[in-house]
């Protein structure tokens, strides 16, 4: 396997061929915030939190989807990037009804963690307060659209790992909503296998178990499943 050398934040680092900037950064303990990315799932490239500056390119690039290239000079942290990331988290907090104090995922939520890490104490944008439903028709789990950030991790894990493709996204723009089957109650879904993977990858309190308080989720869950399935390796 050939090795690529590039510079991240002034550090010379090496990368395996085909690795993304995000992969390389993580391997070298350089933190880049993410939300829609989850190890083991295909990349979505939509949260824009992992945008980085690449020398020679006027456009910011998503670290999760940009391949590390020989000689590339990457900046993952700058005043400008911090400002953008903060604004993005603020936009999310204003978009739906994220009320941490009454959320099952309080203190076990990636959105909340992002806000804390950015020192975000209030939101300057108009809270949209949309009227959104909660679907508790499934015997074990609930989906609460008020807390959904549309990262589509549930959609991808259901399609790519479980193979059921129960979840998808309907509508567009601010009307976008995660749905099961023909926008039917989750409990009535003919395609759902009740495997619960979607619940285990949800970064917020949008998908949660009935009667339980969410705890921090294992970020390597999907990678483990892939390793187990494809390489018969069950070492967690």
């Amino acid at each position: 396997m050939s090795v690529t050398t590039l510079t991240i934040n002034g550090r010379l680092v090496s990368a395996a061929e085909g690795a993304s900037i995000l992969d390389v950064a993580r391997e070298h303990d350089i933190h880049i915030p993410t939300l829609c990315h989850l190890d083991g799932l295909s990349e979505h490239g939509a949260c824009r939190l992992c945008l980085v500056e690449v020398a020679g390119s006027s456009k910011l690039q998503a670290a999760c989807m940009t391949k590390a290239v020989e000689g590339m000079v990457v900046t993952t942290d700058s005043e400008r990037l911090r400002t953008y990331r903060r604004q993005i988290v603020e936009l999310l907090l204003a978009e739906r009804n994220h009320v941490c104090s009454v959320c099952v995922a309080n203190r076990a939520c990636e959105l909340q963690d992002l806000a804390v890490s950015m020192g975000l104490h209030h939101v300057r944008y108009e809270p949209q307060a949309p009227q959104l439903a909660m679907d508790a028709s499934h015997p074990r789990w609930i989906i609460d659209h008020n807390r959904c950030v549309l990262c589509t991790r549930c959609v991808r894990v259901c399609d790519e790992i479980e193979g059921a493709h129960t979840w998808d996204v309907m509508g567009r723009g601010r009307q976008t909503l995660v749905i099961s089957d023909m926008n039917e109650p989750w409990g009535d879904s003919a395609s759902c296998t009740s495997c619960g993977k979607c619940v285990r990858v949800c970064p917020t309190g949008a998908l949660f178990e009935k009667g339980a308080v969410a705890t921090n989720k294992d970020p390597h869950f999907v990678t483990y499943l892939r390793m187990a399935r494809e390489q018969k390796l069950w070492n967690r």
Binding site: H44, G45, A46, C47, R48, L51, L60, Q61, A62, M65, T83, Y84, Q87, I88, L91, L92, A94, E95, R124, Y125, E126, Q128, V149, L150, V169, G171, R172, G173, R174, Q175, T176
Partner: protein, 551 residues
Amino acid sequence: MIVDDIAAVRDREHAARAAQKARIAVCSAAGCLSTGGSAVKDALTAAVAEQGAGTDVRVLGTGCLGLCHAGPLVRVDAQDAAPAMFEHVTPALAVAIVSGVVGGALPAEQRCDLTQPFFTRQHRIVTSDAGVVDAERIEDYLAANGYAALEKVLTEMRPEEVVREISASGLRGRGGAGYPTGLKWSTVAKAQGPGKFVVCNADEGDPGAFMDRSVLEGDPHRVLEGMAIAAFAVGAEQGYIYVRGEYPLAITRLKTAIRQAERMQLLGHRILDTQFNFRIDIRIGAGAFVCGEETALISSIEGKRGTPRPRPPFPAEAGLWGRPTLINNVETYANIAPIILAGGSRFATLGTEHSKGTKVFALAGRIVNTGLVEVPMGIPLREIIYDIGGGIPDGRTFKAAQTGGPSGGCIPAAHLDLPVDYEALAGIGSIMGSGGLIVMDETSCMVDVARYFMEFCRDESCGKCIPCRAGTVQMHEILLKMTRGTADERDLGLLEQLAELVTRTSLCGLGQTAANPVMSTLHHFREEYMAHIRDKVCPAGVCPMHAEDRP
């Protein structure tokens, strides 16, 4: 069908024409049809039959004659006489026109002055067939030297020569961003592997733009020919035209044209008896502005939600089903045949240093002559608006010209002498766009216009990336507050920050340009914003300036 047969069709058509006393062209584009164009065409046809002039006079339905507000338009080309045009034609006048043609003296009323600048200042390349070619007859297109460029390419040129010719012409994408067409073609041509695609983006989504619609409705074969030449140049065998579902007439005419071309072996298998195969299928859009963005368009052709994906990889490397894909818009393809016939360097003599050829604009809004015009690149905006467009009606004054639709900006009077080309427009915060040019007078409020476009982008955002999905909502919210007189200066600051965020971090072109109308109006009309914020006054008197029930 081989080349000789095509030549025979042309000869027959020319001979028939020489025998005709006159040709009467009725504008059959959507604009004139909506004002009764088809009734006029029926009346003309009936009158010709009634007066027994079937062989002497031909009635044809053609592409947009330009002066949409004066429709239905009828153009008469008689042997040995200057062409004449009639406006606001009724079925009764149609009968009189036919009598006039037969009798040798055309009616004097409702004549359209063909020497007015609206007609004389134009330079028609893309729209040269309007008034000459019947949109539903391939024979007419052939008689106007149609498919001669394809023939030349297939029989005399190698693919790389075609690409070189297009590069030499300096043609740039007419869809908005102005990417050099030759460069795009050569990237796709160089890409490895079979199964390349050629796609025509006919998802003309900018509100206020109807150039592509007119070309598709009036001269569909020209687009097909351009695509076929492109396919030959880049090595593709399959093409798609992605047309807006809102353009049913264009879809019908394209379907007819494809059928005709296939029958004459100008499309399909072994075109003109060469080894070249090229098939074109139509894909109908279903009402999503974002599908004008090429990666979203690809998703839509693949039958999926029209959501974009990050570039690179660019479609030229990995597009439809992961194959190298060439995507150009309608007007770009319509320029191809003329470039091949005249030569790239000849085409390049027209226009400015970096913007060659002509541009078709759809003039609309507060302007006397609303309609379709084709002008050389580099013409001053003032000439388009005042000379060709006839200026502002009702004694009002010019305030701004909007180009580029929701991705563009508003150009104030101070820049009226700006030459219209890609760089000049970008330099003042707008873009060339696909060619919509909407004129506004003092009855338009720039804050309200910015709010209108932001509402558009908010509703057309696909919802995939956060900055565009949620950022447009918040920008619209702030602009709405301004039009209601409840915004303060903190809101202005937030608006400017959001504009930067959405521009810099959005996933696709829709988001990256969504703030342009806000930024350009803020730049050129800041005092109007301040009047809304500080004085709670809308100078144009458009905004309600009162809050709804808020605490």
